[in-house]
């Protein structure tokens, strides 16, 4: 996308101003979004994102700028503006670019630049709507979306790196709204991956519509949720958001290097119950959080974060490595050229155990079975996190009694990791999007059903 001699000239300019490291991140992304409202197409949108991000490093100081103009004069102007306060005699010499071809381990077949397949996406979404409405006459409305992105990136840096990658992301959502005349509730379904529209080949519109409708109808009959501290069994798949929020963000060197994570000085220590084994794996084929290379050009890898309860690794990007001394883990990620990369999660999950769901439910005198979870957030400095239950049930004396309305679960990372007492066998992954310092990036969370012995349930009963 960017002429090599132009890139070399800009990086030469940065080196001449004394930068310790210089990098250009070039991006051209094509996007397409199809939205339906019940049985008709609400909108079809498409676009092109294009820009160049310029990163200079002086010591531990990061200087970052971006522009939509891939012109030499504009890029050099940004370099000069960024370096204005730090310019000095050159500290490094330039190595010629050595182009490194990246093997695409997640090759997509039905890509946006070839055919957006809008007709097929519309047909899929309308079929999900039909299935949801067929489930009950109380389903009053559905909203569906199919989004596809083809992100083409190219990297140049002052160490001679020149590489690039193409990432295809596709994701489908359905929200069903149920109404009994006085109250409304919602249910949802989604699927997605690091792939093109071949995603449709594994999706089932009938099952998707029925699942969103089922959840909406369950929530319509839900009762107020009890509140207070109690055990909670968290469903598999998106239930893994608990680890993402409670621990994952706290292991990113973005927080660790600033000592703004409660785990910053816990390497090698027991930070979780011994039944907990946790991984961040960027290599899983076609999973939404996977990448061939990270946004700093390093190969993606599988990183064992916690082994038998002991902290074994952080998630480390270039600057994080420089600041903490830990080796990079291929975790430097960013939403787009508008952000400097930061250490971020990829496909993050707790590995399966041996417990049975019935035993987990049966062990609760009074508690919650949170079968489906929504999103959450965390404050890394204190480890305080929250996440939402989107489908849950009240359990008493080992029996599921009735569905409950909206509830938030809160605790702190260090505490909840030690309260995970049982991990099931039914491991599953679920796609999501994570927002943090370097923007919103595709991720996957995952776990088998697991039991937390004590957590605060925020109900309104």
């Amino acid at each position: 996308m960017l002429n090599t001699s132009l890139a070399q000239s800009v990086i030469d300019h940065a080196i001449s101003l004394g930068a310790d490291f210089a990098e250009l991140f070039v991006e051209r992304s094509q996007t397409n979004m199809v939205s339906t409202l019940s049985s008709h197409v609400q909108s079809v949108q498409s676009g092109i994102d294009f820009g160049v991000g310029v990163r200079l490093v002086y010591g531990t100081k990061v200087l970052y700028g971006y522009t939509n103009k891939a012109e030499e004069a504009e890029l050099k102007r940004i370099v000069s503006e960024l370096a204005a306060k730090d310019r000095r005699d050159p500290r490094i010499s330039f190595t010629n670019f050595d182009y490194r071809r990246v093997e695409d381990k997640h090759a997509a077949t039905r890509i946006l630049s070839t055919d957006p397949e809008v007709g097929g996406k519309v047909a899929f979404l309308l079929a999900t709507d039909k299935a949801a409405r067929a489930a009950s006459n109380m389903i009053s409305q559905t909203r569906g979306t199919c989004g596809q992105v083809e992100q083409k990136i190219e990297l140049f840096n002052s160490e001679g790196l020149h590489t690039g990658d193409i990432r295809n992301y596709t994701r489908a959502f359905l929200v069903a709204i149920a109404s009994d005349g006085s109250e409304q509730s919602t249910g949802s379904w989604n699927d997605g991956g690091l792939m093109g529209w071949e995603l449709v080949e594994r999706m089932n519109s009938e099952a998707a519509g029925k699942e969103a409708a089922r959840q909406a109808l369950v929530n319509l009959s839900a009762k107020p949720c009890p509140s207070g501290r109690m055990p909670v069994v968290l469903g598999n798949g998106f239930g893994g958001v608990i680890f993402h929020e409670a621990c994952g963000h706290l292991l990113e060197t973005t927080s660790v290097a600033k000592k703004a994570s409660v785990f910053h000085d816990k390497m090698g220590e027991m930070i979780a119950n011994p039944v907990v084994n946790a991984v961040d794996d960027g290599t899983m084929i076609k999973e939404r959080g996977s990448i061939n290379i990270d946004d700093e050009g390093l190969d993606s890898q599988r990183t064992q974060l916690i082994k038998d309860g002991k902290l074994t690794s952080f998630l480390v990007d270039r600057i994080g490595s420089q600041q903490t001394g830990f080796a990079r883990t291929g975790s430097g990620r960013r939403e787009s050229y508008k952000y400097a990369p930061a250490s971020r999660m990829r496909n993050t999950f707790i590995e399966p155990g041996n417990a049975e769901l019935d035993d987990m439910i049966g062990s609760m005198e009074r508690g919650i079975y949170a079968s489906h979870m929504g999103g959450g957030s965390v404050q890394p400095g204190t480890g305080e996190f929250n996440f939402a239950v989107t489908e849950g049930y009240y359990v008493e004396n080992g029996k599921i009694l009735y569905p409950i309305k909206a509830a938030t679960l809160i605790s702190t990372g260090p505490k909840v990791l030690k309260e995970i007492s049982m991990v099931g066998k039914d491991f599953a992954l679920a796609s999501g999007t994570c927002g943090s310092v370097s923007g919103s990036i595709p991720t996957t969370v995952g776990q088998a059903t697991l039991k937390v012995d004590d957590i605060l349930v925020g109900g309104n009963a």
Partner: protein, 442 residues
């Protein structure tokens, strides 16, 4: 100029295809500084431009955007928008307004001239971080920053509209981590102003430190139902989370639970809410909306009755009404509606009454993006703040949740204060409201 030429070229292609359309061009320059341990950690500058096109052909709407501006990209922009329109259902209500006005916002108000050098802004960032880090029990200041953003928007339409607005926002924020033994807490304060010189470094440092030290001692309260007052930040967050209740677009789409309730009692009779875009003291100040329609003060709740929803020309047409000047559209989005500047009228309750007896003052809510359902009104958030007695903070409270149904809560208003306050982003002006019987888990 290139920008005008690009716009003409694009809209000529739209008209030649037998369609009508409007084009948004957003341009921006920004500066962002972050400090760490007395040195600059991040220095970020940007220059951006994006074009967003909406076309309407045979009653069908399509949109497309591009950050690339080469001739091929501009031609593709039009082709993509027209292609997208071909898949859409016919919408009898959405049209390009017959508006050939030439509009311009007031630069004196929205981006007043100021001579400020980069040195002063760097010094502000470094001093803010250094002064806060030097305070008692502060371990570090992991999140802090100074920003200076200038944005320009042009809107051109095939009907002849040419609208231009330009605005500047300077902001500063700092979050500190404090520790005492095995206890820790993190909190922060932000400020926004049109002039960099209006940012108050001392206030950010002092308030952040005070808040952190208070929270350090925080513990949960017993689960139960409490009188609750949300502070000037969290109350605005709460109302904005459920702003869909005023959306004519959501009503048109059939998902706004207030769709059939215009003219009906939906809140306590003392509650009056108005959207006031013409109050230039706030950052929601706007003379026209994304269709170039004039903005106006719009009463939303009057004496507890839902007086109006907010509309763009399409949602207004659907309900056989006139637009209220609330059209919103970004280069990457379709036409929607949005509040400009929410204002809740002052009540009659004096502070001594409003803050009487025991209540919880909530100063932080977490999980707003995931713990709320605007369709049902149900919410459950993490929270922290203070247990208060007769206006005095008895003790700090953290590790609790607040839950309920927002639409039911509007009927559980106990008192409305007689003073109004801006939130730090200056997007809403509200008095404190005391809500009764709110579920707290601790």
């Amino acid at each position: 100029m290139a920008l005008q030429q690009n716009a003409n070229q694009i809209l000529d292609l739209v008209k030649a295809a037998g369609a009508s359309g409007d084009l948004i061009i957003d341009q921006g320059q920004s500066l962002s500084l972050k400090a760490r341990e007395g040195a600059l950690e991040e220095y970020k500058v940007s220059s951006s431009q994006i074009l967003g096109l909406r076309v309407i052909k045979d009653g069908k709407v399509g949109t497309a955007y591009s950050e690339a501006t080469d001739p091929e990209a501009l031609k593709s922009l039009v082709e993509q928008a027209l292609l997208n329109a071909s898949f859409a259902a016919v919408d009898a209500h959405e049209s390009i307004l017959a508006n050939a006005a030439v509009l311009h916002t007031d630069d004196e108000v929205l981006c007043p001239h100021e001579d400020v050098g980069i040195d002063a802004q760097i010094d502000f960032a470094l001093t803010m971080e250094r002064n806060l880090a030097a305070k008692n029990r502060v371990k570090n200041v992991p999140y802090n920053g100074v920003q200076d953003n200038m944005g320009e928007r042009h809107i051109f339409s095939s009907a002849g509209l040419s609208a231009y607005s330009k605005s500047r926002m300077c902001a500063a924020y700092a979050y500190a981590l404090v520790e005492d033994g095995d206890k820790n807490a993190m909190d922060g304060v932000g400020q926004a102003a049109r002039l960099f010189s209006e940012l108050d470094l001392t206030q950010i440092v002092t308030r952040t430190h005070e808040n952190c030290l208070s929270l350090l001692e925080g513990t949960p309260v017993a689960s139960g139902h409490y009188d609750v007052i949300f502070d000037e930040e969290t109350q605005v967050q709460l109302f904005h989370t459920f702003a869909m209740m005023f959306s004519g677009k959501s009503a048109k789409d059939g998902v706004n639970p207030m769709r059939e309730k215009v003219g009906q009692l939906v809140a306590d009779r003392r509650l009056n809410i108005v959207d006031k875009p013409l109050n230039s003291a706030g950052f929601g100040y706007a003379l026209f909306d994304s269709e170039g329609a004039a903005t106006q003060s719009t009463p939303l709740i009057v004496d507890g009755n839902l007086a109006s929803l907010i509309h763009n020309s399409a949602t207004a047409s659907f309900f056989d009404l006139a637009t209220t000047g609330h059209a919103t559209r970004g280069p990457k989005s379709t036409m929607g509606v949005g509040l400009h500047q929410l204002e809740i009228s002052k009540g009659e309750d004096l502070a001594q009454d409003l803050l009487g007896d025991e209540y919880l003052l909530l100063t932080d809510l977490t999980g707003l993006h995931s713990g709320a359902n605007a369709i049902s009104g149900n919410f459950s958030f993490g929270a922290s703040g203070y247990l208060c007695q007769n206006g005095e903070r008895v003790r700090a409270v953290r590790g609790i949740t607040v839950a309920g149904n927002f639409y039911d809560m509007l009927g559980k208003i106990s008192m409305i204060g007689d003073q109004q306050y801006w939130n730090w982003e200056r997007s809403a002006l509200m008095p404190h409201i005391r809500f009764a019987d709110i579920a707290i888990s601790g």
